[in-house]
Amino acid sequence: MFELLLFGMLSGIAIGCALGVVFHRNPVHCALLLVGVLISVAGIFILLHAQFVAALQVIVYAGAIMVLFLFVVMLLNIKGETPLLTPGAAKFFGFLFALIVFVELIWTAVQPSPEGQGMPDAAPLPADFGSPAALGRVLYTVWLYPFEITSILLLVAVIGAVVLAKRKFF
């Protein structure tokens, strides 16, 4: 009962903020509304017993990535553009395509699975599901190779960002 109420509230906030991100004029407001989406999604993660991922979402996504976004928006001082949406017929094709994607996603989600059960209720959870210990146990054994590659990927991204944003000194 409590869970239902929380889910309703958090999903309402998430959808409202998401609509605000897409339809607001001022980019700073869009960024702040996106932070709102991220935090409400973190709340939904906690409802799904994913505490570590929720904490990561707040620390990494809302606390670092979006601050980077805000820095760039503020430093470039970009005002909202006029008109807001793509002019002409492209706008309607955009909405139509999005509608097609939505219908397809919903249809796939409510499909009965091959075992003929629909979306079965959750399997019983181990006691430390979603905790850092459980994640670490899987991350450093089964998924070690992708983990090491991701660290190299981040190094490459750092080098690339520095090179791209550098001014050329003659």
């Binding site: 707040v58 620390i59 805000l70 503020m74 905790s131």
Partner: protein, 328 residues
């Protein structure tokens, strides 16, 4: 969730909130007195005995001031920014343990508001969100110096957040848990400052930078950028920023005490009293730093954070891991 648990939680929230809201004026008074004596003057002495009511008088003055809204400022963000700063600071107070347990009316009540098993991550998240209070305050004022101050301040905060988090991982590795209550409980025999001394030093330096205190307070110093990100804020909004800064100081001191200085453990006196004594010593240390060191220039500050503290904390992490593996 039965009625007794609800009442217990509400009472604890009120107590901690009262503690912070009453503690901040006391810290401000202590700062002014201590700074005064270290600078060979007396500090506030007229309002109340020993100037104790000076901060209350200042609070009343701030409350009565005109609440200015700059013309081109972004109203919603201008209104929200001090709120975000205060809310994140107070939210971080919820996981700090003040003592072990106390037994009242037949119930064993743990002396903290809540205990999440990812308490340290929760704290890191709250301090990450605190950056928004600064950067939005600087931007919403729509003025040069606040914007520069806000951006510099937030860049400084996100840089020192890294080393701060990594320095805590040594303690987490020793205890095997992210929960602050667990870390506090395990320091009964040996305070973690002994095996993790360098982590403690790194953590303290990073905390001073995180809370924008001297010698890392370039972004809000009066002689540099007027008053940095809170230049254009007056009356209650400025009071909220002020409150947020000192509440943040209490939070990082509380975390340092819990993780390194033995939390509530000590001979003879009850747990919460020891916590209070250690907190006061720590805050005195903060004020002492302010009175003693000159300000760091911004590029010196950033270079120190990235080139010295971050590698040092990583080295500490590696060394702790090696020692723990060798010792089994």
């Amino acid at each position: 969730m039965d009625l007794a648990t609800l009442i217990e939680a509400l009472v604890k929230v009120h107590i901690v909130l009262g503690f912070v809201l009453l503690g901040v004026p006391l810290i401000v008074w202590m700062e002014r007195k201590v700074l005064g004596h270290m600078q060979d003057r007396i500090g506030p002495q007229r309002v109340g005995p020993y100037g104790l009511l000076q901060t209350i008088a200042d609070g009343i003055k701030l409350f009565m001031k005109e609440d200015i809204l700059p013309t081109q400022a972004d109203k919603v963000v201008y209104f929200l920014a001090p709120g975000i700063a205060v809310v994140t600071a107070l939210a971080a107070m919820t996981v700090i343990p003040f003592g072990d347990t106390v037994t009242l009316f037949g119930r064993t009540i743990p002396l903290r508001i809540t205990d999440v098993n990812i308490a340290i991550l929760f704290l890191l998240g709250a301090t990450s969100m605190g950056v928004y209070g600064i950067v939005l305050g600087g931007w919403a004022s729509n003025s040069k110096y606040p914007l520069l101050g806000g951006l510099r301040s937030s860049a400084q905060m996100i840089s020192y957040e890294l080393a701060q988090g990594i320095s805590l991982i040594g303690v987490i590795m020793i205890t095997g848990s992210l929960s602050l209550s667990e870390i506090g409980r395990q320091q009964e025999k040996l305070w973690f400052i002994v095996p993790q001394f360098f982590a403690f030093v790194i953590y303290v330096i990073c905390s001073v930078a995180e809370t924008n205190r001297a010698p890392f307070d370039l972004a809000e110093a009066e002689t540099e950028l007027v008053a940095g990100f809170h230049t254009e804020f007056s009356s209650m909004k400025f009071a909220l920023y002020f409150l947020a800064e000192y509440a943040n100081m209490m939070v990082v001191s509380g975390v340092a005490i819990t993780c390194f200085l033995g939390a509530w453990h000590g001979p003879f006196l009850p747990g919460p009293l020891w916590f209070l004594i250690k907190l006061t010593c720590f805050l005195f240390f903060y004020i002492w730093l302010r009175a003693t060191f000159p300000r760091l220039r911004y590029d010196q500050l950033m270079a120190f954070g990235w080139k010295v503290l971050l590698p040092a904390s990583l080295l500490n992490l590696a060394a702790t891991a090696v020692v723990l593996t060798v010792m089994g």
